[in-house]
């Protein structure tokens, strides 16, 4: 699942040149564009609105925030959230430690392998999570099977396609080779080149990869339910039997909060980008 918001965020940054010039056949373009965007907006906002309303109404149809304020007190909610957050943290750390050096390495030393890498990192989109988890439960040693962190190890695989793609987009946007050569020729070691030159340049790519893995872990249901761990989504499904209002409220909150997090990130990135450009022009 996938793919790179970071690609689009990164592309967005340089997009203006890529846009077809709007003046040509403008009027015709405008109305269909408006229709498409409005319809899409309705399709995507309507369920969000409906969920908010559903969560704010009690069975008699009165407005109340009871469903929201009840969330922390529901049995099992806090432990499910805590488990999900721990899994997310482990997933994010492993993803970064594994993918960042590898992607940089391939970009620097084996650019010809990039095509193959694109294909390999797509595999997890294809192999269904349900097949993956039964294979894991079949083949993993007992030590791993008895720990919830087995899920994190697999989430790294699920997160790989878009983690790789956002890092890839980030690396393509900077002049990696020049940066590395400059740092090396000034006497920097590999470690300090990575940590003090490349990573700061990849901040946005890293952050969006991280937040998207957070989204993935907070939403992943298939593997967790088959591995019999009550993560947040599993809890939401189980709670539905008790009270649908709370399930809907939690779903709404987790979706909207993650979205805002990502939106805020892209806004911050935008501002930094502008600052850099201004500084650039001044010097």
């Amino acid at each position: 699942m996938v793919v790179a918001v970071a690609t689009t965020i990164a592309a967005e940054a340089k997009a203006p040149s890529g846009r077809p010039s709007g003046r040509l056949s403008l009027s015709r373009l405008r109305w269909w564009r408006g229709v498409v965007l409005v319809l899409t907006g309705i399709f995507f906002l309507l369920p969000l609105y409906a969920a908010l309303r559903f969560a704010l109404e009690n069975n008699l149809g009165h407005l109340t925030s009871a469903a929201f304020s009840a969330i922390p007190h529901m049995t099992g909610f806090l432990s499910a959230l805590y488990l999900s957050l721990r899994l997310a943290a482990v997933t994010m750390v492993i993803t970064l430690v594994l993918m960042v050096p590898t992607t940089i390495y391939v970009h620097l030393k084996y650019p010809r392998l990039l095509v193959a890498f694109d294909a390999i990192t797509l595999l997890p989109i294809g192999i269904p999570p349900i097949v993956l988890i039964i294979g894991v439960l079949q083949s993993a040693p007992f030590v791993l099977k008895s720990s919830p962190y087995l899920l994190s190890l697999e989430y790294v695989i699920l997160a790989m396609p878009f983690a790789y793609r956002s890092l890839d987009a980030g690396l393509r946007a900077i002049d990696l080779k020049t940066l590395v050569e400059a740092s090396r020729s000034l006497g920097g070691r590999w470690i300090s080149t990575m940590w003090r030159v490349i990573v700061p340049n990849l901040r946005t790519a890293l952050a969006s990869a991280t937040i998207l893995s957070l989204a993935l872990v907070l939403g992943e249901f298939t593997m967790a339910s088959l591995d019999l761990y009550t993560t947040l989504p599993v809890w939401v499904v189980n709670t539905d039997a008790v009270t649908a209002h709370v399930s809907v409220a939690v779903s709404f909150l987790s979706l909207v909060l993650t979205w805002f997090l990502l939106l805020a990130l892209s806004a911050i990135d935008r501002r930094q980008f502008r600052k850099v450009r201004v500084v650039d022009e001044e010097t």
């Binding site: 890529g18 399709f43 409906a50 294809g126 349900i130 097949v131 988890i133 079949q138 940066l179 979205w259």
Partner: protein
């Protein structure tokens, strides 16, 4: 964006230094260096092999094993007959519908966003599609339960204007397909947008200078350039729709026979204990379809990269 380091490097006199550092260290055999170089890829290769390769192989092997470890075709035979064959047909139909429709609509939406001038709009769309495509499953199912179930907000509106959905409409094939659109469309927008950025304005201007009308540009230039990417992305949606489990599970509690749901039932022991290997045979079926999809995807991608370099 030019950094100070880059600037300094471009300064006269330093250029040589940079290129000199690239020369191979003397006195080492080339094959040894090659091997050492590949060592850098080892952590990634080992990790992928352990947590993606080994489980997949385990499923493929398990599909041909009895519970005691002997070789058998029985699981595959059971998986190829009812009720599992129905599940396969239903799954393929659902994946087909939920890849073709968002595959087409997604291009229009992505293009509409792409040509709009508002950066805020683009930012909202790109972040929202990232979240919706990744968040898949459970949360989306509950949004739609609030929208279109018997007491859902939109169901009530529709009743007010005289349209009454059959009870439990959301939990039928059509309803599940609609919910799938909610993550398939954003996914399509996400993966097709980079290709739109690759359409150069110069091509459009050139075709206009040569007197082409709007539709002619799309028929002879834009369309052919985009077609392999769009097809490839649609194939990915197909694979994604085929393997989705959480949404259907949360919505229907298994009333529609879809292969992933059936696998889940078998593995959870909801059917008959000891049928785990049949579940793996079903998994094998999915893996085969996915492999075919990915092969075609790679071929299309190669074709697409002829014009659209990322």
């Amino acid at each position: 964006m030019a950094t100070t380091a880059e600037r300094r490097l471009r300064a006269p006199g330093l250029g040589n230094l940079a290129s000199r550092s690239k020369a191979p260290p003397p006195g080492r055999r080339p094959w040894l260096r090659g091997l050492r170089g590949l060592l850098g890829l080892a952590p990634f290769a080992v990790y992928t092999a352990l947590f993606l390769g080994v489980p997949t192989v385990a499923v493929v092997v398990g599909a041909f094993q009895t519970p005691h470890g002997g070789f058998t075709f029985k699981n595959v035979t059971i998986a190829a007959h009812a009720p599992y064959s129905n599940g396969f047909v239903e799954s393929l139909e659902l994946a087909l519908v939920t890849s073709i429709v968002p595959g087409i609509l997604g291009v229009f939406i992505a293009y509409a966003v792409h040509t709009s001038r508002g950066t805020l709009l683009r930012r909202i769309v790109s972040t929202a599609s990232g979240v919706f495509a990744n968040f898949g499953g459970v949360q989306l199912a509950f949004l739609f339960i609030a929208t279109l179930s018997t007491t859902g907000v939109v169901t009530v509106w529709l009743q007010d204007v005289g349209i009454s959905l059959t009870t439990r409409w959301l939990f039928t094939f059509k309803g599940v397909a609609l919910v799938y659109m909610y993550f398939q469309l954003p996914l399509m927008v996400l993966i097709v947008t980079p290709a739109l950025n690759g359409l150069r304005p110069a091509w459009r201007e050139a075709s206009q200078n040569l007197g082409a009308k709007g539709w002619q540009y799309w028929r002879y230039v834009g369309g052919p350039v985009l077609a392999p990417t769009v097809l490839g992305c649609t194939l990915l949606l197909f694979g994604f729709g085929l393997s989705a489990y959480a949404t259907a599970r949360a919505l229907t509690a298994g009333t529609i026979p879809l292969t992933p749901i059936q696998i889940g039932d078998v593995m959870n022991g909801n059917v008959i204990a000891g049928e785990q290997n049949v579940g793996m045979a079903l998994g094998l079926g999915l893996v085969i379809v996915i492999v075919v999809v990915l092969v075609f995807y790679t071929l299309l991608q190669r074709r697409a990269s002829r014009w659209l370099s990322r």
